[in-house]
């Protein structure tokens, strides 16, 4: 076993790459290989809550799979707690836990208590320590009334909370949370975030790498955020610093009728880099978001749209949010898939 440096980063990647062979059908129409990670450099310090934000297919989950030793990189280096994820996978596994949102792990025949105990045993936690810890985690995730319930009788949300608790049974040094609040109700998700923040704060060295689709979650929890798209890190900094990068101008959200994307092309609208949001079929409208440069009056944009026959149903302006940063950096909203 090699010994890492005295104070290694919790997670460190250098030029991390991963390609997948395309399926035969996909390879016939495009490249034979798909590049999921195209040289990712990250350094996450111990004690940080670090967010990885990116649209679907950006490479977030691939990155987490490599860091949790489930996948080999095809190039570059990845270290967790100072240990190489390929050569020292066993040392990495002793120090990590992984919770993926939406997973249905655990044996349906076991009760909540038994299932959490089972996972504690895979990490070598003695039962005399494991059972009290399991009971307290069950309390924290508010499953005390269900603690003796078989997990195949839990609701989706309850099962999700149990999975969240599973991540803490071994008190890992580095916790990977991949969309942990997916499918959870708002109150439960808020409480979960509170626990994660406290868990990291209460002992030096505990680290969390979080991927999430919820910008508010990343803003609330993360000390730093990396925005990733097409396998590349496009920006990495604290949320306030990222906000500052895109400040200068208003963030505008319009609800448009007859919202043909081609209608937003033209002189008056040039340089806006609009990001199309959700459609509202009931109202026959669609949302579009953009950052308005300081030297462009909003009224000029509205007039240009009117001249093109686009009906503006609603206008909203607001402060720079992490979502605005994301759109400015990536060029599209988080819920839009990587083309």
């Amino acid at each position: 076993m090699s010994h890492p440096a005295q104070h290694p980063a919790a997670v460190e990647t250098e030029a991390l790459r991963r390609t997948f062979k395309a399926s035969k059908r996909a390879a016939a129409e495009g490249p034979a290989e798909i590049e999921a990670l195209a040289g990712v450099d990250l350094r996450i310090e111990r004690g940080e809550v670090f967010g990885l934000l990116g649209p679907n297919g950006a490479g977030k989950t691939t990155c987490i799979k490599i860091l949790t030793t489930l996948l080999y990189p095809t190039g570059g280096v990845a270290r967790v707690a100072g240990f190489d994820v390929v050569r020292e996978a066993q040392e990495v596994r002793r120090r990590i836990a992984l919770v993926s949102g939406g997973e249905a792990s655990g044996y349906g025949i076991l009760t909540v208590r038994e299932c959490l105990w089972l996972f504690s045993q895979l990490y070598g936690v003695p039962s005399r320590d494991a059972w009290p810890r399991v009971d307290r985690l069950i309390d924290i995730v508010d499953l005390k009334p269900q603690r003796h319930t078989r997990i195949n009788r839990l609701s989706t949300g309850q099962r999700q909370r149990m999975n969240f608790a599973r991540g803490f049974v071994s008190d890992p040094d580095v916790l990977f949370l991949d969309e942990p609040t997916l499918g959870m109700d708002v109150t439960a998700a808020r409480s979960l975030r509170g626990f994660v923040a406290e868990w990291v704060r209460e002992r030096a060295g505990r680290t969390v790498l979080l991927t999430t689709h919820y910008m508010a979650e990343a803003e609330e929890l993360c000390d730093r955020v990396a925005i990733i798209d097409r396998g590349r890190v496009l920006a990495c900094d604290s949320v306030p610093a990222l906000r500052r990068q895109v400040q200068g101008g208003q963030h505008v959200e319009l609800e448009l009728r007859r919202a043909d994307p081609r209608l937003l092309e033209g002189d008056a609208l040039a340089g806006l880099k609009p990001a199309w949001g959700a459609e509202h079929p009931d109202r026959g409208t669609r949302t579009v978001k953009f950052r308005l440069p300081t030297d462009t009056p909003l009224v000029r944009v509205l007039r240009a749209l009117e001249e093109r026959g686009v009906q503006v149903e609603g206008v909203a302006t607001r402060e720079t949010s992490l979502e605005d940063v994301f759109i400015a950096v990536v060029g599209r909203a988080l819920d839009e898939r990587t083309p």
Binding site: R94, E103, G124, V125, D129, A130, R136, I140, W199
Partner: protein, 285 residues
């Protein structure tokens, strides 16, 4: 949810390494099997009573034909071991495939314990629960059909049983990786291996009746050898054994060691392949 409590401030729990880590992982996985078996009484009917019906048919057929009583005992021993073979196929062979489908496999692969500890736990749980279920077959044989066994050498019986189980479940451990590697439709493979193996193992008749094929299957299928060895221990000469008992025990030992090595190799190969290709352990890929 309740407010975060003192748990975050607690000293981290001890995390054992080495043998104790593997032991805890193994016993935990065994616990799942045992609890699962005890909580679903319906399984006793499907896994113990129903498979015994085939055995009953053979006992009644031998009785109707006026065959020697030892043939009835041969069928009863076969019926008991058929429960183990079904468990090896469905409870071991197909298990990693189901674990993957449930999203469980990637959690095992991300945990610090060895995969062999998990598989050993599955095997131990399978042996224990199937032994309990096989009581149904033994009860039918002893009290319903009044099958007689000769004076049994308990030591030899224990040795043959343990080594047969080791060989069978080591084969199951090997199959579990191979099914995941090469046969995603694991249940078709399980189905395909059920009846042919029953036949070449001489499940309900003395394997000697197969002639040369009996020797071939004894050299290839641990169930055939274990079955014949158990019959020899329980019935002595009436079992019409294929090979001398010490040779069969030696053969079973070779099977056990070979399949344990093969299981470990297949598991390592599976893990390496899954990490290279990004599939197998991950449900979505």
């Amino acid at each position: 949810m309740t407010a975060p409590d003192d748990l975050a401030r607690d000293a981290p729990p001890q995390r054992t390494r080495g043998f104790m880590l593997e032991w805890r992982a193994m016993t935990a996985r065994t616990y799942v099997r045992i609890v699962g078996s005890l909580r679903e009484p319906a399984w006793i009917f499907t896994d113990a009573v129903l498979p015994s019906l085939g055995m009953c048919s053979y006992v009644l057929m031998y009785r109707a034909l006026g065959a020697p009583r030892s043939y009835e005992a041969v069928a009863v021993v076969g019926g008991i071991l058929s429960a183990f073979w079904l468990n090896v196929l469905w409870g071991m062979g197909a298990q990693l495939y189901w674990e993957k489908q449930q999203g469980q496999l990637q959690l095992y692969f991300a945990a610090p314990c060895s995969r062999m500890a998990i598989l050993t736990g599955m095997a131990l749980g399978g042996v224990l629960t199937t032994t309990l279920r096989s009581i149904v077959g033994v009860s039918l044989g002893l009290w319903v059909f009044h099958v007689r066994v000769t004076a049994v050498d308990v030591g030899a019986l224990a040795l043959v049983f343990v080594i047969t189980m080791t060989a069978l479940y080591a084969l199951g451990m090997t199959l579990s990786s191979l099914f995941l590697l090469y046969g995603r439709e694991a249940w078709h493979v399980c189905n395909a291996l059920t009846e042919p193996v029953y036949f070449v193992s001489g499940l309900f008749f003395p394997i000697r009746a197969l002639g040369t094929l009996g020797y071939v299957s004894a050299a290839l299928v641990p169930l055939a050898l274990g079955l014949d060895a158990l019959r020899q221990v329980l019935l002595h000469g009436a079992a019409r054994g294929l090979l001398p008992l010490p040779i069969e025990i030696g053969g079973l030992f070779v099977f056990a060691v070979a399949f344990l090595f093969l299981a470990r190799f297949a598991l390592e190969r599976l893990e390496a392949l899954s990490k290279h290709e990004g599939r197998l352990t991950l449900r979505s890929q």
